[in-house]
């Protein structure tokens, strides 16, 4: 199977064609993925979208952790 190149958090990576965002999260050892929003080419995707999102060659991915809190 051919490989594709994607950019993950600013770094070039090579993965098998057809990998999903969920598989990428696992391969990149992203901790606490349920608290992560991903951007794929600037489109923001929640955790529930990861499994159905198939990545393609040239995609640019960023992982953003939920940042929140409170005073209580």
């Amino acid at each position: 199977m051919n490989n594709m190149k994607v950019t993950v958090s600013g770094e070039s990576r090579e993965y098998e064609n057809g990998i999903t965002l969920l598989e990428l999260v696992e391969a990149e050892n992203v901790e606490m993925p349920e608290y992560v929003t991903a951007s794929v080419n600037d489109e923001l995707l929640g955790y529930h979208d990861f499994e159905k999102t198939v990545l393609k060659d040239g995609d640019v991915i960023e992982f953003l952790y939920f940042m929140g809190g409170g005073c209580i």
């Binding site: 901790e31 951007s39 953003l64 809190g69 005073c71 209580i72």
Partner: protein
């Protein structure tokens, strides 16, 4: 220990006072050299909760800030938020949602509005420890 230019204390406290009664929040970026962490840039982000008791950073603005940091050759060091009516110490919710043991979690209390108190913490699990801020 984290080094913070005094001007950033001014920017954060001004934003926190102007933002009352809501909590304000943002990201800090900078450099890490051994044990030295120095803040080079701060980003005030929208609190999409618009609450005086909670904050959630806008992910779109988070993405923009992360890209800007990368462009400037700096790295994320942590975040800050305000406690308009309570002390500058991590709440239960702050601890629950602190996923990164390497991050600095800064909290500015506005209980004394004439002298807002900014403190920085590391949080591991439900244990927080204050880290020294060196103003430069």
């Amino acid at each position: 220990m984290i080094r913070l230019p005094k001007k950033f204390y001014g920017i954060i406290s001004d934003a926190a006072l102007k933002g009352r009664p809501e909590e304000i929040c943002g990201l800090i970026g900078g450099i890490k050299e051994g044990n030295v962490r120095e803040v080079k840039e701060i980003y005030i982000l929208e609190n999409i909760d618009h609450s005086n008791e909670h904050f959630t950073m806008d992910p779109k603005e988070q993405l923009k800030a992360v890209k800007d940091m990368r462009k400037k050759g700096i790295v994320p060091l942590g975040n800050f938020h305000s406690h308009p009516e309570s002390p500058s110490r991590p709440s239960k919710e702050d601890k629950r949602l602190a996923y990164d043991s390497e991050a600095s979690y800064m909290i500015i209390s506005l209980m004394n509005e004439n002298e807002p108190v900014l403190k920085s913490f590391r949080i591991i699990g439900d244990v927080s420890s204050e880290e020294e801020i060196e103003y430069i």
